[in-house]
């Protein structure tokens, strides 16, 4: 396996979505290639930052309307 092949397999590798021989080839490549090890680590960090995205939010007005609609349903 070369680096050009490895970089296309990172998501499958992280998802555990590859057959054993391919996974083994990835692990072997990683053991001897610090460039791809860095690439993999950067992918992980990218995913981690994505998980930290602050929520956008509904405008207060829309939010209040929805709360009102919820309340109204239980009033009658």
């Amino acid at each position: 396996m070369n680096c050009g092949e490895f970089v296309e397999l990172v998501t499958a590798f992280l998802d555990g979505a590859m057959d054993e021989p391919t996974e083994l080839r990835c692990l072997t490549h990683l053991a001897e290639c610090d460039g791809c090890e860095t690439y993999l680590d950067q992918f992980r960090q990218t995913v981690a930052v994505l998980g930290e995205q602050p929520a956008q939010s509904l405008p207060t007005e829309a939010r209040d309307q929805l709360r009102g609609a919820f309340r109204a349903l239980w009033r009658d």
Partner: protein, 223 residues
């Protein structure tokens, strides 16, 4: 917004909603609406329209919570209503995003071929000299980390819609691959291609940002 409150388990949540507990409703509303907005943006053409799709979804949830059968998680149920609502809007705005097959621009290498040694050279396909990814340091400092998140947020907005949809569900909203395939009616292989492509694009944005910004004290000036 940091440190969103943990939601109680589904049974509790659903029961409280059925009992008309407004605090619980406000809690799910605030916890999910953000990623719902971003997801809706993948299907429609404007922010207003995305907002309306999210509002319509919540109204449908309020009316339909009595019929929720618990065959999927509450969150999946809510998001499926959103996807259907947003898709219907998108169709009206003639901005459909079918997922049945990959587009030509969604295939092919995700890393620039120039970064690897050319075919025929010794070590062909391995990182070329000076092109190997350099280790990063994503700052722990709140302000700087906030900047990194902003870079990512902008980059998500710039992604082609299908890539944005998949990465929003997987990495921002935290869905597993099976759920995403279900929700979008997409094959596992295609899901992975789209996700991988989206992540590779975002990694490149971060690489560019962090290599340009890291040595510059107090700002993001150019090196």
């Amino acid at each position: 917004m940091a440190g969103a409150r943990e939601l109680p388990p589904d049974e509790v949540l659903v029961q409280r909603l059925r009992d008309g507990d407004e605090e619980t409703f406000a809690l799910v509303l605030d916890t999910w609406s953000g990623s719902m907005l971003r997801l809706a943006m993948s299907f429609v053409s404007t922010r207003d329209s995305a907002q309306e799709a999210v509002q319509d979804t919540w109204l449908a949830v309020i009316k339909g919570i009595g019929d929720f059968e618990g065959r999927s998680s509450l969150k999946t149920w809510v998001y499926r209503i959103l996807v259907n609502t947003a898709k219907a809007r998108g169709t009206k705005e003639s901005r459909t995003v079918p997922f049945t097959s990959l587009l030509p621009e969604e295939e092919g290498p995700t890393v620039d071929a120039d970064r690897f040694r050319a075919p025929g050279e010794p070590y062909a396909g391995h990182w070329a000299v000076g092109q190997k990814p350099q280790p990063w340091h994503i700052p722990e400092d709140h302000v700087l980390r906030g900047e990194v998140r902003e870079v990512i947020a902008e980059a998500i907005d710039e992604l082609p819609p299908r890539l944005r949809t998949v990465i929003t569900l997987r990495d921002v909203a935290g869905y597993g691959s099976e759920e995403v395939c279900d929700l979008l009616e997409i094959s596992p292989g295609n899901q992975r291609v789209l996700l991988h492509r989206a992540r590779a694009l975002l990694r490149r944005k971060l690489e560019k940002y962090l290599s340009g910004a890291h040595d510059v004290a107090g700002g993001r000036g150019r090196a």
